[in-house]
Amino acid sequence: MSNDATRRSRTHVSCTVNGDQVDFLADDGTSLLDALRDELDLTGAKEGCGTGDCGACTILVDGRINCSCLMFAPEAEGCEIVTVEGIAEGDHLHPLQQTFLEGAALQCGVCTPGFLVSAKALLDENPDPTETEIRYALAGNLCRCTGYDKIVRSVQEAAVQLRGASR
């Protein structure tokens, strides 16, 4: 069997992740999801499909939601990345994290990071969404455990709290 020296070219990537400046090397062809998980040990974002169909890998790139499984790591160069690990404010959970806990919006919890990031992006943009708007905004995130009921209700409750806080 061969040895594994002298392979693979690696690209240097520099960006901010959850507010911190980070630098890492990525193999050609590595997804941003794999880089976050394997290089930076941020395993909050999950791979449910690797093809852009489940939303478990959802992150914010310059404030917009993206499937990190569909981005190459070098595409993050110069970007501001936010993952589920970065949405709490210091020791304070984001209101969505708190309402997800109180509203039992997670069962197995593997979809939760993606939902939290997608829901945050929705509420950042639209502080008072209707139930239908919430359902369509989250339609790119699959949850197989909850039937979505408690997720939608928890987003509604977080929206109420955030509107109250910003008054």
């Binding site: 979809c111 239908t132 989250l138 979505y148």
Partner: protein, 740 residues
């Protein structure tokens, strides 16, 4: 909303605290199977059969072994052959083909290399010579006279025959005089049905990291519905003592029955053994769909007889399940699931038949949804023929305590009638049906099981507690264990830490199936806590200098007449001087799992132009016995319902004639998304299970049973067409509308 029968006044049971593992799961800290890397680890990848059925003539791994980064290659020759009849033979053969590949996607070889890409490239470079064999792709082909064998090693279970057969099981049931009942009937409805293969669709693909040391001991990190089963299956497949294997339970990202068996761990173990390095294997979604447990496709014929006043006098019929490439109990379990109505006369046959498709796996109330779809549809048609209310018809025929199950024994105390009444009296059912929509009713049943569990409860020096069990937390069970312990000990639920321990740190615990975790493992926790309270009273007696009989345990403190109550923390602080640490282990083989019934009600509209069925409103009532944490009981009801709606309307495996799955992605195998569904309203019915200290019935499975019939019944009332084929996808609905 909860409907309750005589519930005692509990302080903790029935409350809704934040789950103990919740914080880690909302901040991204919880570690699921793929979230761990080991220093020096290699990555595994598979070579899978491109053929639906083929003899493996030769496997040449030499080119692969010479490739960059490759450290180990394994094939079927690296695993012991378990004899026909060995309980894990099918598991072993399914995770690594020996002489024959039995479906497209069956693993033929595996590689460990420094990177996943290298492992995949090397796997693709393995050369295999195949001789093609006939492919059996459907139930009809499998049971046809003279059909080729899908798996020459299969024997029909319980038949006593040693002849190869495509039949996995044949289960006849009979009582009363069916012929006479049909002759005397006022109304007879007969229909044929079919349902497609569907997948559990857990969002977390199977994954593991296995490290086999130079001493031959293996540490396995994996997610599963039961790490003790991972251990026993891996040991059997490898031919090892179980004591060589330690399985650490990762958080599990959904299972629904599909993670009650293994696919990866023994392969990773052999690769690790050969390479001397930890090996990580993570399935792709494509692999999950092509090569892990779908639920069986089915065909059925159901005929039911009724009198004009709505007594269902007889049922006869046949239900067949296409179980995939190995022996399987789907047909037998299906026979157990027909137990909701009295039917004084019954004659049914249930068959499981093998096909050259992936080995099927349990999926939430396995085999019951297919049967309930057929039977609930025919019962609804009888209600239509008699022009009677579908709930009243069911109430008239519903089983109660003492009525026979399909297998002949009497039902224990059950809550079917209570669930029917809860839906009948619900705001939903009492409200007018919206314009352009129609309403359907359906029901479901699951018998649940008990099995073996262990629990250890440790009281800490400061009066807090640790509750250690071996049941993975799939949807809030840590919180349920802590709630029952809180109730028993009189401790605040947040002063209790519930832990899911590895196979070396807690007593044997069976896999989580049959909705048994809160029931059986919960019972072990309660038993341990009760023993602990006995011990606390003894310590308090020592401290107070009284007989133990003089001590009562009230609200977390030892109470002795004439003294101030002695709180738990004061006793634990004196543990050293009163006999040492306070710790108790309990284990049991739980009997008396209470069956759980559910009744569903939905409003749908049918788009006459596109054939799309839209679910407008959905309400489910289910008997939980006692809901320990009602939010997670509701979650089970809602999640099961959503999966059932997917099964009813969208989901199906599509195969090419050679057995290749054509829709192996979440884009093409479309599970319901948030915008497909309405809120799912829940009514928890509580008819306590007398066999559990808090009256718990398993709630995990029943929710998936009623939706297909419920929706078909609503569609029939909305459009005048009776759909008998799942999924009720737009093309099928349109065709049915055109035929009207």
């Amino acid at each position: 909303m909860t409907v309750t029968e005589n519930r005692p006044d509990y302080k903790w049971v029935g409350t809704r605290p934040i789950r103990h593992d919740g914080y880690d799961k909302v901040v991204g800290k919880a570690r699921f199977a793929a979230d761990r890397n080991s220093p020096g680890q290699l990555h595994g990848a598979f070579l899978r059969s491109p053929h639906g059925h083929a003899r493996i003539l030769s496997v040449d791994t030499s080119a692969a072994e010479a490739m960059s980064g490759v450290k180990a290659v394994v094939t079927g020759a690296d695993f012991p052959d378990l004899p026909i009849g060995h309980p894990e033979r099918d598991t072993a053969v399914n995770l690594m083909a020996r002489d024959v590949a039995m479906y497209v996607g069956h693993v033929v070889a595996a590689v460990a290399a420094s990177t996943r890409a290298e492992a995949e490239a090397a796997a693709a470079a393995i050369e295999v010579e195949y001789e093609l064999l006939p492919v059996v792709l459907s139930l009809d082909e499998s049971i046809a006279d003279g059909a080729p064998l899908a798996n020459a090693d299969n024997r029909t279970a319980f038949s006593g025959s040693d002849d190869p057969s495509n039949l996995a099981t044949v289960t006849p049931l009979e009582r009363g005089d069916v012929d006479a009942a049909f002759e005397a009937a006022d109304v007879v409805v007969e229909r044929e049905f079919d349902t497609a293969w569907v997948h559990q669709g857990y969002i977390e693909p199977h994954a593991c990291v296995v490290d086999v040391g130079a001493d031959g001991k293996a540490e396995v990190w994996a997610s599963s519905q039961g790490h003790f089963r991972v251990r026993s299956q891996a040991a059997a497949v490898l031919g090892w003592d179980t004591a060589r294997i330690k399985v650490i339970p990762a958080e599990i990202g959904g299972g629904f029955g599909g993670k009650t068996t293994i696919y990866l761990e023994p392969v990773a173990a052999r690769l690790s053994e050969k390479s001397g390095r930890p090996v990580k294997i993570v399935m792709t979604r494509d692999e999950v769909l092509r090569a892990t447990g779908p639920a069986p496709a089915s065909k059925s014929r159901i005929r039911i007889a009724a009198t004009n006043d709505g007594e269902l006098t007889a049922i006869d019929g046949w239900i067949g399940y296409a179980v995939g490439c190995t022996g399987d109990m789907a047909g037998f379990v299906g026979a157990m699931s027909v137990a909701s109505y009295k039917f004084p006369n019954l004659k049914m046959e249930f068959v499981g038949a093998l096909t050259n498709t992936p080995r099927s796996a349990a999926y939430r109330a396995p085999s019951a949804p297919q049967a309930a779809f057929a039977i609930e549809s025919v019962i609804d048609e009888i209600a239509q023929a008699l022009d009677t209310d579908p709930i009243e018809l069911r109430l008239k025929n519903a089983v109660v305590e003492g009525d026979l199950t399909s297998m002949g024994g009497p039902h224990p105390r059950i809550g079917f009638v209570e669930c029917l009444e809860a839906i009948r009296d619900s705001e939903h059912y009492q409200s007018p049906v919206p314009d352009g929509a129609a309403r359907g009713i359906g029901t479901g049943f699951w018998f649940n099981i008990g099995e073996q569990s262990s629990a250890t409860v440790n009281l800490n020096e400061d009066g807090t507690a640790t509750v250690i069990t071996g049941s993975p937390d799939i949807g809030g069970s840590r919180a349920s264990m802590a709630l029952m312990a809180a109730e028993e000990l009189g401790l605040d639920v947040h002063r209790i830490t519930p832990v899911v321990a590895d196979t070396e740190s807690v007593g044997f615990t069976d896999v989580t199936e049959g909705s048994r975790a809160t029931f059986a493992t919960g019972m072990a926790v309660v038993n341990a806590c009760r023993d602990l309270v006995g011990e606390l009273k003894a310590r308090a007696a020592t401290i107070r200098g009284v007989e133990v009989d003089a001590v009562a345990w009230v609200d977390g403190a030892a109470v002795v007449d004439g003294h101030d109550p002695l709180p738990l923390a004061d006793i634990t602080a004196k543990a050293k001087s009163t006999g040492g640490p306070l710790t108790v282990t309990a284990s049991l083989n739980a009997g008396g799992a209470g069956p759980s019934f559910a009744v569903h009600c939905c409003d749908v509209s049918v788009d006459e132009e596109t054939g799309r069925v839209e679910v407008l409103r959905y309400t489910t009532a289910q008997d939980a016995g006692t809901a320990i944490h009602p939010s997670y009981v509701e979650g089970q009801m809602q999640g099961g319902t959503a999966q059932g709606i997917g099964w009813a309307l969208n989901e199906e495996y599509v195969y090419a004639d050679d057995g290749t799955m054509l829709n192996a992605s979440f884009l093409d195998y479309r599970v319901p998304v948030a915008s497909d569904l309405p809120m799912i309203e829940t009514i928890i019915v509580e008819v306590p299970n007398p066999a559990h200290p808090y009256g718990v019935r398993g709630v995990g499975e029943t929710g998936i049973v009623p939706p297909m019939g419920t929706i078909a019944n609503a569609v029939s009332r909305a459009s005048g067409v009776r759909l008998t084929s799942l999924p009720m996808s737009p093309p099928k609905v349109l065709a049915a509308l055109d035929d009207r």
